[in-house]
């Protein structure tokens, strides 16, 4: 227990200074651009922290405009289509962004536009080289990222402009989509024109013959409060399309974004590379324990009184169980997304802890309530007849009698939390979900296992610890 709190302390104290926080989206190029910004700013003398792979545009934009992060890589097309939701010149954009306290760097020098890609072989067999050509092949199966499906400059407006009528369109993760395309499970997917996978998998980009896609020049969006020297350093960063594609390829090959970013400076930059797995594991695990530990303590502190109230039945008891049960039916991903816009939460460990706390409530509340309700009436009567006051009855008789059931609830909550906490990485809260998420994005099982195996072991360990705790906390008379 002591060691556990020490771990929490260490993890918390690391946030003492006031570093520049760099966010990135959940795809290879964004990770790499995030790392490049970090290295450039560090060379300029700043302390920098990264929140890699926080999510999609909306999450990153909210994090930036609310000050949770100081900068992140973005694309001009996304700024006009998704953030401002109107076509705008670069000057218009700067003016509009200023109202949010946000600035935009000079463009980095490459255009990573959206593109539709197919297997080269299929495309030449069908004679498809432009998006317009798709009109003659409505039988093709498209697997599109969820973001592209919903974007203003995404699938639906594109299909309308090109008058495409493809009935087989499904949503699929970006990295997994490349696998599906290679295996022939889908024929068409959306891509970023600098994706390394395009050349690697022998794919062909369909020409945007009606000029549907806007320009997607890479820039950094930063808070206007950012140090001017830092802004100047960001404006110095220049990358052309070939270079970016190469960096993306390096990132996917080495599974190491920091290493790929270091190639930007021509010489492999060893000190920036965290090759040391044990050290990474300690960082992930301690953050993971911080998230689950704090949220579990909260769940117990709030869940126990709620369970006691619920055990008394009546309208209040029913309402408590109904509300707590309802929270559990919200998918964990959706709960995270719902909490991000809440004031004071946003993209942070706090949000993850709040979500985990809410998830941890049900097992504790329900077990506390049913443990108390299952106490034999004869024992309740005895406790009352002896003349114990209600609070003493609860403390000395009812809670000890229900201890086994209550502890089982806490155990369930802890084990579930350890699993669910891997999702915290989606909103940049770190933990063992970080390698799982990177692995998913890279389509790399080894990296996924770096997070998944420790998470599973951790769950087993916690289960074992609680079994030991049972022996201490459940009175001996109940274990006979």
């Amino acid at each position: 227990m002591k060691a556990f709190f020490l771990l929490i302390l260490v993890a918390v104290s690391a946030f003492g200074a006031e570093p520049i926080v760099v966010g990135s989206k959940k795809f290879t190029e964004s990770y790499v651009l995030g790392e490049i910004a970090k290295m450039v700013l560090e060379q300029a003398g700043f302390t920098v922290q990264t929140r890699p792979g926080m999510g999609g545009t909306i999450i990153l934009w909210q994090a930036l405009s609310s000050g949770r992060i100081d900068l992140y890589p973005e694309y001009t097309g996304t700024i006009s289509e998704e953030i401002l939701k109107r076509p705008a010149s670069e000057n218009d954009m700067r003016k509009a962004l200023e109202k949010f306290g946000v600035g935009m760097s000079d463009d980095l020098g490459f255009n990573n536009t959206y593109a539709l890609v197919m297997r080269r072989e299929t495309a030449s067999k069908l004679g498809v080289s432009t998006i317009s050509d798709l009109r003659d092949h409505p039988g093709l199966k498209a697997g599109l990222t969820h973001e592209f499906l919903d974007r203003q400059d995404g699938w639906r407006p594109l299909a309308r402009r090109y008058r495409l009528t493809m009935p087989n369109v499904l949503g699929i993760d970006h990295a997994l989509g490349y696998g599906a395309l290679a295996h022939g499970e889908i024929d068409l997917k959306d891509a970023y024109s600098t994706d390394a996978k395009i050349a690697e998998n022998n794919l062909v980009i369909l020409r945007d013959d009606m000029h549907f896609f806007p320009e997607y020049k890479a820039v950094y969006l930063y808070r206007l409060t950012l140090d001017r020297r830092a802004i100047a350093a960001l404006n110095e960063i220049k990358i052309d399309e070939a270079k970016m594609t190469a960096l993306n390829a390096a990132a996917e090959k080495t599974k190491n974004y920091a290493y790929a970013a270091s190639l930007f400076f021509h010489a492999p930059n060893d000190h920036a590379v965290e090759r040391d797995l044990p050290r990474k594991l300690v960082r992930w695990i301690s953050r993971h324990l911080e998230l689950t530990g704090i949220s579990l303590l909260l769940s117990i502190a709030i869940g126990l009184p709620l369970g006691i109230a619920a055990s008394r039945g009546g309208a209040v008891g029913q309402a408590i169980l109904a509300i707590v049960g309802m929270i559990q039916t919200i998918p964990s991903l959706a709960l995270l997304a719902l909490l991000v816009p809440v004031p004071f939460l946003g993209i942070s460990a706090t949000t993850a802890i709040v979500a985990l706390f809410l998830y941890g409530l049900l097992p504790i509340v329900r077990n506390t309530a049913s443990g108390l309700q299952n106490i034999p009436p004869a024992l309740r009567d005895s406790a009352i007849a002896l003349g114990l006051e209600p609070s003493a009855r609860l403390r000395k008789i009812y809670l000890p009698l229900a201890s086994r059931t209550i502890l089982a609830g806490i155990k369930t909550s802890a084990v579930i939390n350890i699993g669910t906490a891997t999702l915290a990485a989606l909103i940049g809260a770190g933990g063992l979900g970080e390698p799982i998420l990177s692995g998913l994005n890279l389509n790399d099982n080894a990296t996924i296992l770096e997070g998944a195996i420790p998470a599973a072991l951790l769950a087993l360990l916690v289960q074992g610890l609680f079994d030991l705790l049972d022996r201490v906390l459940i009175p001996r008379g109940l274990r006979l």
Partner: protein, 246 residues
């Protein structure tokens, strides 16, 4: 001597069905009164009403001259001992902790409590070496002895026993009946005993209250009930049981 407990016009119904019809009853100090009747009648309900484990619909119950209310019930419960069929011992506490629970809760000096505990062990023939066992490690008879000790710990003015021997086998039961009788005499204890066993009532009680269908049928000594039954039910009830024991 006077009445330790006085019921006047007490009524109780469950879900609209009348369980206890307007009942007047007095329990004399220092005596053992048995409430007897066929199972399913309201004997136990009467004890639960006295302890305010359930609220009466009407009437009043006076303990030692004071009307029992919801407000003073907690204080009065501490002056009344209560033993139920399965003992009602708390399984997470040892025999000792069960007996000393209230004494410790009320902050009585430990030495005084230990002396009282030793006294009670001797009185109820409970082996002191078994005091640190949990209820699950005790025999049925031992559990009832611990339960009795718990009921007597605070020297209650009144002891309520709800079928205390109902779940025990005949040999243990008969031994405990003898011990109970000695204890009641020794302590000059006021006792209300609920039982469905006429022989037990006849052996232990100074006065018998025979109940049926929510009302008192006859009150008196066992001889009075036997020799001057007020109606056919009394005669039948006694006859049904006499064949074995008399």
């Amino acid at each position: 001597m006077g009445a330790v407990l006085e019921l006047s016009g007490v009524t109780k119904s469950f879900n609209g069905a009348s369980a206890l019809r307007s009942t007047d009853l007095q329990f004399q100090r220092g005596l053992t009164t048995a409430l007897i009747g066929p199972s399913g009648c309201v004997k136990s309900t009467l004890l639960r009403l006295i302890l305010r484990l359930i609220e009466p619909d009407g009437g009043s119950i006076k303990f030692d001259g004071t009307e029992i209310t919801r407000q003073n019930a907690p204080e009065i419960r501490r002056r009344v001992g209560y033993v139920i069929q399965e003992g009602g011992l708390f399984p997470h506490l040892t025999a000792r902790a069960n007996v000393l629970l209230m004494s410790r809760h009320l902050g009585q000096p430990g030495e005084q409590a230990e002396t009282r505990l030793a006294e009670l062990c001797a009185l109820s023939q409970f082996p002191t070496e078994a005091l640190d066992r949990y209820p699950a490690e005790l025999s049925g008879g031992q559990r009832q002895r611990v339960s009795l000790m718990r009921g007597l710990m605070l020297s209650p003015e009144l002891l309520l026993l709800d079928e205390p021997l109902g779940a025990l086998d005949p040999l243990v039961r008969s031994a405990l009946q003898e011990d109970l009788k000695k204890i009641f005499l020794r302590l000059q204890q006021s006792v209300v005993l609920v039982t469905h066993d006429m022989a037990e009532a006849a052996y232990l009680a100074d006065e018998i209250v025979l109940m049926n269908e929510g009302r008192i049928v006859q009150k008196g000594t066992v001889a009075e009930l036997r020799d001057q039954p007020t109606n056919e039910f009394v005669r039948e009830f006694l006859n049904a049981q006499r064949s074995v024991h008399f």
